[in-house]
Amino acid sequence: MPSPITATNDFVVKFANVNGSGSASANELFAKCILRSGVPVASRNIFPSNIQGLPTWYEVRVSGEGWLGRRGGVDLMVAMNPQTWDKDVASIDPGGYLLHDSTKPLPPSKFREDVNAIPIPLTDICNRTYSDPRQRQLFKNVMYVGALASLLGIAPVVVEEAIAAQFEGKEKLIGANVQAFRLGYDYAAEHLAGACGLNVVKSDEVGDRIFIGGNDAAALGCVYGGATVAAWYPITPSTSLAEAFGAHCRKFRVDPETKKNKFAIVQAEDEIAAIGMVIGAGWNGARAFTATSGPGISLMQEFFGLAYFAEIPAVVFDIQRGGPSTGMPTRTQQSDILIAAYASHGDTKHILLFPKDPRESFEFAAEAFDLAERLQTPIFVMMDLDIGMNDWLVEPLTWDDSRVYDRGKIMTAEELEAGKTFGRYLDVDGDAIPYRTLPGTHPSKGAYFTRGTSRDRFAKYSEEGPVYVDNMQRLLRKIETAKTLVPKPLRRDAREKTKFGALFYGSTTVAMEEALAALEENGLHLDTLRVRAFPFAEEVVEFIHAHEQVFIVEQNRDAQLQKLLVNECAIDPARFISILHYDGTPITARFITNAIAERMTLARKEAAE
């Protein structure tokens, strides 16, 4: 019989619900209450590829220390879904808690000896209080939030403020919800005092941080980065990025006088059309993007090759989900790295950015448009479902008002008029980036014909071997230039000198940071490098060469980033140890810590012998 878990500002609450039951808003309300208590949370939605009636879970990690990755394990389960009861109960850590609706009594066999049940007759209370079946269901959720507040010691005022904020402007709803909250709170206060060893103590760890999803933030990055054309096709988990862009534009991009839009958003008939529109707009000088996920990336391949070879700016957000094929559409993964890096047939190489969280998604989104126009090629912002569709606690977004867009090398009518020679594929500056002209620029100079076929430096069609090779080699050199322009990797050295290094990227970061702290506590030291872009900067190669063994932590089956490293940096694979997590759930610090610790202690032993 393990003793009941006791913890302050450091535990995991998991809600098991049915989608469409109104639980989503209540669960989010709960997370907000913790944040309003000044305690950091990391919340994650686990939802099905369906609209109504299937199981859905919401995980809230309360972490006073501010760890934002998934922790794994469950201290308190709010089990509201009979369909998944057994599984949910089984997933609770020994000594943990089980909050459940006790209206209909369940046989003891349905419970666990080593788990502390917290029964509340929710349905009962609801039925007594409300006549309308819909209200009965809706308020049941707010009610368990109330009970939790009481159990965890969250001040009622905090919850009431949170409710007021959630239903801002809808007094009727506020009142009703506060009432329901009270019902739950009071019941727990009366019947369940001391039933739960977990509690929340007010703190100020949250600071001025914001709680935002990556798709929302990236969409805002597109607004700040000057995107004017968006073409997209709905697909989970990227849909909310395109929809958020629309919302932000309606807010920030409508001309106050004329009421006209400084943006154009088209829901295309499919992904091929979406990327085609983006390329057409980019060719014609507008900043354009599309947002999609794996299947869309597969469909866009031919156009990616065209944009690479004809050198047309484009920005593509790949909100990665579980592949291959339709795979696990509502789960997260980092498994489109290779298909993006080498997109399309023939010899190609593309630019990838790997934001670590919503805040960096905002920054890289804006940055991507500068890179696309500077390098005249597609830029892939490689996000994932975890970053895109979950709310993350991040530093406030910032913008330097003195920043001007880098529109890249566009030859103007004046320059043409002044007689500057224009060769669309001519490397005048030695950086392998040629000048382009926009359609309609000049009556008699600078017009050229864009094509996906081989042509000479002056855009004239050619089937000559040397002409083709000349162009292909310049494209390689352009990638060299890109290495100096993309976001640099970030290195963090261990307190002590070590021969072990670790590479990681994207949404793995939060779990990695936590894992590093844990490893350090156990006296296991690693230097780390967070890769933020492909092609890889020199620093990446240096880092690897500076360490005998380098762990590469990825969320895919085939160690895709490692393949890229070995390919592009000519590094002996023997140096690498891959840590792979790809079951569709976000990687946890526990997983990384165990995997690395095991190998490092082993290595140590060997050394010792």
Partner: protein, 350 residues
């Protein structure tokens, strides 16, 4: 800023248009198509139309897919930008280009394989959206560039050396009608008298203007019974079974009065029955246009002329309510909300 064209001084003899441009100013590089190809006739009709409309050549953007037809934008308007994109996807590329800069004239050139086979979806959806453009389908019923396979517009029952086409043909004009095109016409490559005015009207139209242009492929005659082509050559090519020797072909012309029907014999001997709309025909009734089309089709006639036009059509920019300034001219000044607004935004997420 845009530049105003200053045509160079020219021998007064050469005819110039309102802007002082000569016909030459609208030409492009030399065609690499087969002698006599209908597509070349269309190119020269386009050049003629632009010259007569006195368009500034560089204010046109030419877009196409892949195919012999899709090569033609290179053979006209040498002063305007062109984009030979990928097979069947011109409509999406044109749509994006159009969104980026509403001030240019967009000319989409495609073929029947490019538009009716691989590109059918994009064709349909760009028409539905009412993109302000002139969309031309240079329709020869075959895949020219890949050597004569049937396209989706080939008549049911048409024969090739090895096969008989059994799929029902796609009538691009009928399709454009039910998809909501606001300007729908058909013509024949060799009929400049009809084609040039239609092209001018299409350019003038604000919205999706679609013109299906029957444009004979003088090379891949899908009619093995062909008697027209020189027997000896035919025998030779049969024997070595490839298109080894290509006879020089003459352009196929047509000149007939509105309201009349004319039959045209192609180089392969196959017959084409063109019927030109009567001047009395009223192109404002879509249902009637559809009925008329089907009725004549039943009679084995290919109707030509302006079948339908919606005078006060609205284009996608109107629907999207975009600003008058082309989007590609807006800078951070107009586009970036700035740090103050961002601070307020942050607040909403606390």
């Amino acid at each position: 800023m845009t530049y105003i064209t200053k045509p160079k001084l020219r021998h007064p003899g050469i005819p110039t248009n309102a802007l002082g441009f000569t016909h030459r100013d609208y030409e492009g590089s030399i065609s690499t198509l087969c002698a006599g190809c209908g597509h070349d006739s269309i190119s020269s009709a386009l050049i003629q139309a632009c010259f007569e409309l006195a368009i500034e050549p560089h204010r046109v953007a030419k877009l196409s897919g892949i195919g012999c037809s899709s090569k033609t934008p290179d053979y006209l308007l040498g002063q305007s930008h062109g984009f030979n994109s990928v097979h069947g996807r011109m409509p999406s590329v044109l749509t994006g280009a159009n969104l980026a800069n509403r001030d240019l004239i967009y000319l989409g050139v495609s073929g029947d394989g490019d538009s009716a086979s691989i590109g059918l979806g994009q064709f349909a959806h760009c028409i539905r959206r009412g993109i302000n453009m002139v969309y031309i389908c240079e329709n020869n019923g075959v895949y020219g560039l890949t050597k004569g396979q049937f396209s989706a517009t080939a008549d049911k029952g048409s024969k090739s050396k090895t096969a008989v086409n059994s799929d029902s043909p796609i009538d691009m004009v009928g399709l454009a009608l039910i998809l909501g095109a606001t300007f729908v016409a058909r013509s024949f490559s060799g009929d400049k008298k009809q084609l040039v005015p239609l092209l001018k009207a299409a350019v003038a139209h604000r919205g999706s203007a679609f013109i299906d242009i029957v444009s004979p492929c003088v090379q891949f005659n899908n009619n093995p019974q062909s008697t027209k082509s020189y027997e000896f050559v035919r025998e030779h090519n049969d024997a070595v079974n490839r298109l080894d020797f290509i006879e020089p072909r003459a352009e196929i012309k047509a000149d007939y009065e509105p309201g009349t029907v004319t039959t045209i014999e192609q180089h392969d001997g196959s017959i084409l029955k063109l019927s030109k709309l009567d001047p009395a025909y009223d192109p404002h009734d879509k249902a009637k246009a559809m009925a008329y089309l089907q009725d004549r089709h039943a009679k084995g006639e290919v109707v030509t002329g302006l079948l339908y036009i919606e005078d006060d059509a609205e284009d996608l920019h109107h629907h999207l309510n975009t600003v008058d300034t082309p989007l590609n001219r807006l800078s951070e000044k107009e586009l970036c909300p700035g740090s103050a607004k961002l601070a307020a935004f942050n607040d909403e997420y606390r």
